[in-house]
């Protein structure tokens, strides 16, 4: 116990400013919920161990999805069950941080079951706080993997029947079968003695985390008065009378004293070896001199958008590849739906001499819009003074911006005249080259054999590039 006063621990935010609505000084948890107690024990430990400002809490899907309202730490909220995977990457990318994965039983033991197993098996330097209340709380009381035999939930109205629903999953015991974990404990919040034991386990787990001693998990038996349909005190008694028998408490493993701090090797990246491994040799063999004319945009960021299947993404790949051959740094960031055809797709391409940070073209110098929805969506974000190339075959409106250069190019039509609408991407690439002066037509044509195989295909794409290029140059003259 610390100081001469016990008050709201420093690991919490004073005011929960991210919480919507007027109630910014109270949690969203139901009266008597165990989450609040565990939150308090964690927040107190963060303050006492002086790690609040280097801790990152990963919150799950479940009632604790909003843990980021409360903890005065770095916070990430991640997809259902994936907290250990994200915690892994955060911990490896920031070895100096203390990474906490906070998860419930539906999240950790059901949808995320494999994630927790693999993270534990790798001995990731993370601490998992696992709230086991034997039920899905947020979604309204469905059966969880941890639901007790005979326990009534909304999906087991006659009680969980092992014949059809399986048995309560004992996560701590399961993880204890693995070699790598350092600390595994199961505690409970059902009375003050056990709350204090939970407090000690929380501190130990975080201490090992600070010492880089690998994977630690504390499974905490916790009350869910709302879904158990019990009062708060009755819920504590229910843990005592029903859960303890199935989920015995105690420290299943504590190897903290014997484990040496884990130091992960720094990944080494040797560009020559990467090229060799990927069979890239010295690149395509074509080293290009940049065109003599000064490009309209020296370090352009580009957005290409349209229907999936219009060659939106491949047009971006072509531009990025060309940029590489001229010795630029390039990036290509695709964004598309689950469909292979139809739907919408767009990509961002950056072609720069300097280092590329953000790979998304949020204020593109050039927008190539292949259909109307894309033009309407992205026209507003084009940088002032930028260029909008729009596919006048399919877009029956004209852009409204007056502070940008607008080029109407019948991209689909030009490709169709060549007998194959699939070459829209190369028509677009040709139009881009002509509009920006960044790439010379001859250079693109020389590169085509390294991008496409088959003489007929290369020839077709050559015609497509030329059609797009010549059309735009025709507009200019």
């Amino acid at each position: 116990m610390k100081g001469a006063v016990l008050r709201k621990p420093g690991g919490f935010n004073d005011i929960y400013k991210h919480k919507p609505g007027a109630d910014k000084d109270r949690t969203h948890y139901c009266p008597g919920c165990g989450h609040g107690i565990l939150h308090k024990l964690i927040a107190e430990a963060l303050e006492d161990l002086e790690i609040t400002d280097r801790t990152i809490v990963i919150s799950p899907v479940g009632c604790s999805v909003f843990a980021y309202y409360y903890f005065n730490t770095g916070n990430l909220q991640v997809p259902h069950g994936r907290a250990p995977a994200v915690a892994t990457s955060v911990s490896r990318a920031n070895p100096g941080s203390v990474v906490i994965s906070y998860q419930g039983d539906g999240d950790l033991a059901a949808i995320g079951g494999n994630h927790i197993l693999q993270a534990a098996n790798r001995g990731e330097n993370i601490t998992v706080f696992f709230v086991n209340n034997a039920i899905y709380g947020m979604t309204g009381g469905q059966m969880a993997p941890t639901t007790l035999e005979g326990m009534k939930t909304t999906t087991t109205p006659y009680g969980r029947n092992p014949a059809t629903d399986g048995y309560p999953m004992k996560v701590a015991e399961m993880l204890n079968s693995l070699y790598a974990p350092t600390f595994i404990a199961r505690t409970s919040l059902h009375d003050i003695a056990n709350i204090r034991k939970t407090r000690a386990a929380v501190r130990k787990a975080l201490q090992y985390n600070m010492e880089k001693k690998g994977f630690s998990i504390v499974e905490v038996l916790s009350m869910c008065p709302s879904n158990w349909k019990l009062g708060a005190v009755e819920s504590q008694n229910w843990i005592r009378d029903h859960m303890l028998e199935v989920y015995p408490l105690g420290t299943l493993r504590d190897r903290g004293a014997e484990v040496a701090p884990r130091v992960r090797p720094r990944p080494e990246l040797d560009p020559a070896r990467v090229r060799e491994t990927l069979g890239l040799g010295e690149g395509s063999g074509v080293k290009l001199e940049r065109p003599k004319e000064t490009p309209v945009y020296p370090n352009p960021s580009v957005r290409i958008a349209g229907f999936g299947g219009q060659g939106v993404l491949s047009a971006g790949v072509v531009l990025a590849n060309l940029g590489l051959e001229y010795g630029y740094n390039v990036s290509w960031l695709p964004s598309y739906g689950p469909e292979m055809r139809g739907g919408t797709a767009n990509c961002s391409v950056k072609i720069q001499d300097g280092t590329i940070g953000d790979t998304e073209a949020t204020k593109p110098h050039v927008l190539i819009a292949l259909n109307r929805p894309s033009m309407e969506k992205f026209e507003p974000i084009v940088a002032s003074g930028g260029t909008l190339i729009y596919n006048s075959t399919l877009i029956d409106v004209t852009p409204s911006r007056k502070d940008i250069r607008v080029l109407a190019v019948p991209i689909t039509g030009l490709a169709d005249e060549l007998g194959n609408t699939k070459v829209q991407s190369m028509v677009a690439a040709g139009a881009f080259a002509a509009a920006t002066g960044l790439f010379a037509l001859d250079d693109i044509i020389r590169l085509l054999p390294s991008l496409y195989s088959g003489e007929a295909i290369v020839k077709l794409n050559e015609k497509a590039v030329k059609a797009g290029f010549d059309f735009v140059r025709g507009i200019k003259s």
Binding site: A4, V5, L6, R7, R26, T27, P31, C33, G36, L41
Partner: protein, 81 residues
């Protein structure tokens, strides 16, 4: 609360408290009770009877609300004293 406080002393934020009663049940000295009045959120908050606090912290650690309970321990010295 009028007059000088005697430490240890327990203070319950009447607005943050959700009236779950875990602290009342857990308090070994039985010096907490559920109030008859409602707070602005519609809960009957827990409150300190005014004397008998042991300063054990049981209520603090039993309470799920981060800032609802503050316990001033025996050796607490108020600011400005």
């Amino acid at each position: 609360m009028d007059g000088p406080r005697k430490y240890p002393f327990c203070e319950i934020d009447q607005e943050e408290c959700k009236g779950c009663g875990l602290c009342v049940n857990a308090c070994p000295a039985k010096v907490l009770e559920i109030s008859s009045h409602l707070n602005s959120r519609g809960f009957h908050p827990s409150s300190y009877k005014g004397s008998g606090c042991l300063g054990c912290g049981t209520c603090f650690y039993s309470c799920p609300e981060p800032g609802a309970i503050t316990v001033y321990l025996k050796d607490y010295v108020p600011e400005g004293v």
